[in-house]
Symmetry: C2
Subunit: 598 residues, 2 copies
């Protein structure tokens, strides 16, 4: 029976028939690999996700983490699953060989990760946060920091967090007040409160490595005065093993609507509950240079944003497959064409409106998965392309795509989950089925790692205009390559190519029009509609890419891709028209409405 | 401090400055009433909802109903609230004087009801289902049935349900198998299983009056063979008081994502657990004529559908007000125009994207409330207009509006709740705040009382074409009356009038185009996009009505109406363009995609 987590067939299509994952093995960086090692990793991921992650997805929801005032208790099945994950080598899969990783390409490890996100978003967050943390230290940490902190994370023994927000400073990081005081041996003592810390405290791993934003005394104000520190829960002893308890303690948990498998904690640094090396204050080590913390953190954050989009996609995907399976089995009513009550009832997939809800989901989740893996493939280019210009090109393209990879699945794969509930009817609204939990779990993704609105400001306010708009131009140029290939094919592909070409023109012209009046606040008032419109254009591009890759192939799988592409081009892409109109017209209704009229 | 449930000011505006509620007192049917009695009812509703319904909204969610195998246990605060509700006369407010009701106009009682739905959707369902049940019996029951069952419901001592669905027959009522066997004294014995029964069992009232669809032996197949029975939980004794236990028992509860205050039960009729009058079988009485049950039930159902839309609206409305209050208080970040980190942080309502999310919510929830009360006002015309042609006109207009009143708030007031979460940021995703529960509670509304898809089929497949399309023509004609009044005002109102006029033309032309090809399955394949587009057109009409009513008045309240109207016309109405295009083009992507391609 086919999995209802993801479609292995679809992943193989994306990886091998479109993104050329196998060709990556010709590059020195991935020379140790082959189609066989990729397939082995994918099958291992599917198996471990299915057997060890999916079974406790519901208990993660019903038995959410508890804080007894001292310690955080997490559903023990999470720990058991993470043990298997580490033992089977999954925690080191995508990590560099230099620290004992298997150095599998990002495009492959992202496909592997999707299995875990589809199976259990809450449990998957622990290793994925850890790998983001490890990558940051690998990039910016000292060799000693790498040896001390990264290796045990790669081995899956320690976990990691990112500590940015504070109660008074969520989206506004300039306003953090956690301070780091220089202390003995070049170390620092940290004092402050951090909030919304995913995986912030638990007993699932031997140690927790916090990456913490804090301010050094006398530094510049605002974001320019933020530095980054690595602060372990237990200070490593002389042998590297966790030893003395550091002065960082959980102060409470957030009780969420969903995504409950992942602890979300308030952490107090330097509260004085513990006195490492004889006095209060959380001992931390500066990562990289002083006052560069936000820049480093954004490196991790960009990866985390793509990870959020990937998680949203995976949860949307499993909801689609579950509602598809339900629609094939559930017998109810008769199609309009059947005459009279004597006719036998049919599976609900025979009702056109049910197929509409399924085809919409398919177009969202398979399109989003294409975008996620396309982005991962760009990461591989940044790391391994032989040509420096191509590396830079990939970097820029990834940069402009990041707000879209983060926000589009976080919006539309929740819509997919909403439709998955609707396909199930009343059953979908009950906790006896999975889809209501997916809908709740997935709702977080438009909030964390930069809200939806912040992604809009990032796209229209930064990525679309920076350096003369070269990132956005690159995106348009890249998509036009696909337009040319599709045109050459004729038929439906050529027809869609023309629609995409128009949409790409609007993408570029609308950004220019938005900024044409010289008042940034007017342009940015419509940043969210612009983000959403460009997201749909990029997804149409992804569908054209898939159509081109499917071209010339016969069979239900490829016909299904063509049907979903057609759905996206006819039912979805036209939504962008009114959104672009608004942005181009520099519409000011919102800007002009003062707070007291609300 | 202003309420965060609803805006009393807005309700007064809608009732008195637009819908002419006070003028209704000139009609004989409402001659006992005055502005003072209306205001008294509204104030009472606000006070009881605020003091007795809102405080246990959260406990309804956390302490959901339990079934111990025999009996259903509901949060006792529900019962206490319902006691106050009955004691203060609220249960009889809208009921006819003939059964001891206060006979307040629908438009006023609907506004009163909204306070309870905003305060506690789960608790409010008990009296609202009861009143729907009572109204059906008043219309179709015998005098004896009215005396026996309706009076105790009007007094708030008994509650009522509607029992339609069965495990194998949800949307497909033709397939119900519950049977009613003729028995002693002209009564019937019912045998069968009913599912999804809201308020189906509990100990909150002295008795429960079930209205049950069942089939008589030898009747025609399908929907034409369905009859309606009244089946009390306890058989009334000679004095009318609940006496012997009838053979209807709860068989289990559904555990829902939200809306948990309302028990949702599986009920077994004639299981044999109880043996009323000495033998198994649930004793019931035929309501009206045999085989006419579905028609009667749809009378109640249409009221219930408007009630669903009203509930969705109220929950959207309170989410808006709560996120508005939060946005005024929560300080975070600086507007784009403020230079440097030295500037003080501002309330987040100063951020344009936050105001966008608030203005969008305002346009959805105030627009939906206008539609709900407009529909209630039509009910008043059907009951009390002196001119028979006007009564029929109101009936037809209500008929075509019903799928929209049901579906539009069920879709867009969930979007409002989604935005309310987003305004709160991470806090909105936690159960410490109210908005995540509103989002969960509200999600049911697109499912029950006819799914979203079924509303689409009802509109495009029935209401838009029945009797030569006269209902839809009437809707267009009615809205054009508003267009003319708005044109005469000039300014923004005239501008919006032109936009609405175009949208009305498209509403009519698109229905004609959809049906022009002679293949119903092609037209109906796009019934949902048509429903959604017409819904937006109707909401634009509601905003133009409000703008006309606000015209010539100054001050923040009226300026706020104008700002929300502008938002709706500029940001929302244009969404209908691509939807109408699809329907008019008789788009067949979904229809042409067979199940095996999904």
């Amino acid at each position: 029976m086919a999995s209802t987590l993801l479609s292995a067939r679809d992943l193989r299509f994306l990886l091998y028939e479109w993104l050329g994952a196998e060709e990556l093995t010709e590059r020195p960086h991935y020379a140790e690999h082959s189609r066989e090692t990729f397939d082995g990793a994918l099958e291992l991921a599917e198996r471990v996700a299915t057997d060890h992650f999916a079974p406790h997805n519901k208990t993660n929801d019903t038995d959410e983490p508890r804080f007894d005032g001292e310690q955080v208790h997490v559903n023990p099945e999470v720990g058991e699953a993470l043990k298997v994950y580490a033992e089977t080598g999954l925690s080191s899969l995508g990590m560099p060989e230099s620290v004992g990783g298997a150095q599998v390409p990002h495009v492959v490890s992202s496909a592997c990760n999707a299995w875990f996100q589809a199976a259990n978003l809450g449990t998957s967050a622990y290793p994925f946060l850890t790998s983001g943390n490890a990558r940051l230290l690998l990039e910016h940490g000292t060799q000693e920091q790498i040896d001390t902190f990264v290796r045990p994370m790669v081995e899956g023994r320690w976990t990691g967090t990112m500590c940015l927000s504070e109660p008074q400073a969520g989206s506004s990081l300039a306003d953090i007040t956690t301070r780091a005081e220089p202390a003995e041996d070049g170390a620092f003592r940290l004092f402050g409160n951090k909030m919304w810390i995913s995986a912030g405290d638990h007993e699932l791993s031997e140690n927790i490595v916090h990456l913490v934003l804090a301010k050094l005394p006398g530094g510049p104000p605002g974001v320019k005065g933020i530095s980054l520190f690595v602060v372990p829960k237990y200070l490593p002893g002389p042998d590297g093993a966790p030893d003395e308890r550091n002065d960082v303690v959980p102060a409470g948990l957030n009780h969420k609507m969903g995504y409950r498998g992942t602890v979300n904690a308030l952490l107090n640094f330097g509260e004085g509950r513990h006195t490492p090396q004889g006095r209060p204050g959380a001992i931390g080590h500066l990562v990289g240079e002083a006052h560069q913390g936000l820049k480093y953190m954004f490196h991790m954050m960009n990866g985390a944003r793509i990870g959020v989009g990937a998680g949203a996609t995976a949860v949307g995907y499993t909801g689609y497959l579950k509602s598809l399976a339900y629609a094939r089995e559930r017998v109810q009513g008769r199609p309009a064409a059947a005459k009279g009550p004597g006719a036998p009832q049919v599976p609900i997939i025979e009702h056109t409106d049910v197929r509409r809800m399924l085809l919409a989901q398919k177009s969202y989740v398979e399109g989003a998965m294409a975008l996620v893996l396309y982005s991962a493939r760009l990461v591989d280019d940044t790391l391994s392309h032989e040509d420096a210009r191509e590396r830079e090109r990939a970097e820029l393209l990834l940069d402009v795509l990041t707000p879209i990879v983060k926000s589009w699945p976080s919006q539309w794969c929740v819509v997919a989950n909403d439709l998955a509930i609707q396909v199930h009817g009343g059953y979908g609204y009950t906790r006896e089925y999975d889809v209501e939990q997916h809908y709740r779990d997935n709702r977080l993704n438009a909030i964390h790692e930069g809200t939806h609105g912040i992604q809009g400001l990032d796209l229209l306010g930064r990525k679309a205009v920076q350096d003369g708009g070269k990132r956005l131009s690159l995106l348009v140029e890249q998509a036009r390559g696909c337009v040319r290939r599709a045109r050459a094919l004729g038929g439906q592909e050529a027809e869609h190519a023309e629609l995409l070409e128009s949409a790409l023109e609007r993408t570029a012209h609308t950004a220019a029009a938005a900024w044409s009046g010289g008042r940034p606040e007017v342009a940015l008032a419509n940043a969210t509609p612009y983000l959403e419109a460009v997201g749909h254009v990029v997804l149409a591009w992804m569908w054209l890419e898939q159509s081109v890759a499917a071209s010339g192939h016969e069979g239900a799988f490829y016909d299904g891709k063509r049907a979903a592409a057609r759905y996206f081009f006819r039912h979805e892409l036209p939504r962008t028209g009114p959104q672009f109109d608004l942005v181009a017209a520099r519409e000011t209704t919102v800007l002009d409405t003062p707070a007291d009229l609300l």
